[in-house]
């Protein structure tokens, strides 16, 4: 959901968000373990710092290109460069080994049907639902949500009607950064964290956007369900080691046969 907001408004894939996933975890862990700040406050401070970093990259790097009508491919490569810088800075400061939060709670497990779920996983699901509902509500009832929809539909027309496109882009990136950072902390709670963990989850988010389409939020939900169902069914019937192959095969099939996803509108292909 978070990635989709930025993707719709900026019309480009921004890989920098992949670096914010581990960065939020490392910063939270740093404040929690070094300064003994309560975990939730440590996470909030981490989210705040990452938003400042994001605003700096928007102002000092991306605004240069946006003023000159950036090509989406150029934006992707620039974001790749910044991702490399941030990810390696994380490695430089905190090292490359797998880290876990030193917490004594969250690992309690509960039986559900014939499966088991931990408290951390319940928290992850609850926060994801909250973010999903929060973004949908915000976009429906708030003025900024309507402005974001206007810019994503037709940015030139939106500017003619007096909508400040740059401000909308910044606000959408703040939404995305905040949601990505929060999810980064929750992922780290469940799986541990290392500097390159963000890239895989970013790609999964991107795959969900491609499968679900960018037009409707319900499409994203279906996309996520299809992706995770394919992954786990494939792991069940074949082997868990083919998890990644199944993920990308699903992606490739959708990119070829349904490139606009479930909720995208079919465009007329230009043929000569």
């Amino acid at each position: 959901m978070g990635l989709n907001q930025n993707f719709k408004v900026s019309k480009s894939i921004n890989i920098v968000f992949a670096a914010y996933i581990p960065l939020s975890a490392y910063l939270t862990n740093h404040f929690y373990s070094e300064y003994s700040i309560p975990f939730i406050f440590a996470a909030l401070v981490a989210v705040l710092i990452i938003n400042v970093i994001n605003l700096c990259t928007e102002y000092f790097v991306f605004s240069f290109f946006r003023k000159r009508e950036i090509n989406s491919l150029v934006a992707l490569i620039v974001s790749l460069g910044i991702y490399i810088i941030i990810q390696n800075t994380i490695s430089l400061i905190w090292g490359d080994s797998n880290v876990n939060f030193t917490m004594n709670y969250g690992n309690d497990s509960f039986g559900i049907f014939s499966g088991v779920i931990t408290l951390n996983q319940i928290l992850l699901i609850a926060v994801s639902i909250a973010i999903f509902v929060g973004i949908i509500t915000l976009k429906r009832i708030s003025l900024i949500g309507k402005k974001m929809d206007a810019v994503s539909a037709n940015s030139m027309l939106a500017e003619i009607f007096g909508i400040n496109k740059s401000l909308v882009l910044i606000i959408s990136s703040v939404f995305t950064t905040t949601s990505v950072s929060i999810i980064g902390v929750l992922i780290a709670l469940n799986y541990g964290f290392y500097p390159t963990i963000g890239f895989n989850f970013f790609i999964y988010g991107l795959i969900v956007i491609i499968i679900g389409g960018t037009n409707k939020n319900v499409g994203l939900l279906f996309g996520a369900i299809i992706l995770s169902a394919s992954q786990h069914l494939g792991a069940f019937f074949f082997d868990s080691k083919w998890y990644e192959i199944i993920t990308y095969l699903v992606l490739i099939l959708f990119l070829i046969y349904r490139p606009l996803g479930f909720s995208g509108n079919q465009l007329k292909k230009v043929e000569i």
Binding site: I84, I85, T89, E244
Partner: protein, 271 residues
Amino acid sequence: MLSQSLVLSSGFTGLISLAHAGFFGIGAYTAGILSVNYDLPFLISLIIAVIISGVFALVVSVIALRSVDEYFIIITLGIQVIAFSIMNNWIDLTNGPMGISGIPNLSIFGFTFSSKLSFLILTLFFTVIIFLLLRNITTSPFSRILIGLSNDEIFTKSLGKKVNFSKVSAFAIGGMFATIPGVLYAYYISYIDPTSFTVDESIFILSIVIIAGMRSLWNAAIVAAVLIILPEALRFIGVPSNVSANIQQIIYGIALVIMMIRYYLKSKNLS
């Protein structure tokens, strides 16, 4: 060799690919499997590796070229991950994460390239051959079709040029050329494992091409040399070896951003 082959398949066509390390890996694993399991000589392994890579590149390009721009990059990323996953998990074929060891010394018509100097000369020979072949391709009318379709595909098609055929050909040729250093690498190191052929390698090769300006073979060679020597230079000035790799990567990232700014300004000035 890797960056120069990517100059053709990505630089000239404008189709940024993250699958190049996969072709590198196909070359290495084909050489490893054929030499260790079937005792085939170097030249036969090389020819078979190039053919396999060419077929793989053909299949990938036919699939991937049905998408455009960022989606093409994502598909090639997917292909790269699939290739790595096969190398890492198909244990019966590739020995999985344990890799293939005991690759014999490279031998051509009875002469064994056992010393580093002799291997260097052989590698230089292949580098020059690949450079000359790519230079001929990139100065031919075919390259002008590739430049045309990267600038305006519909206009190029309207001139009657075979756009899809050109894209597939460029991608397949680039993939086949990328196999050759893979074969040489396997014989040189005599041990290969999947960790040498990851997405990070693809990103590194792509960085070289972008920093070199996308369409220059000479610049790609120079930038590759500089970026490979960079860790040694960092160690020489006293940077500890445990941080030099990260600093090297940070320098790549900064260079990528600067080059895109420069490339963007240059293309805007030309237009």
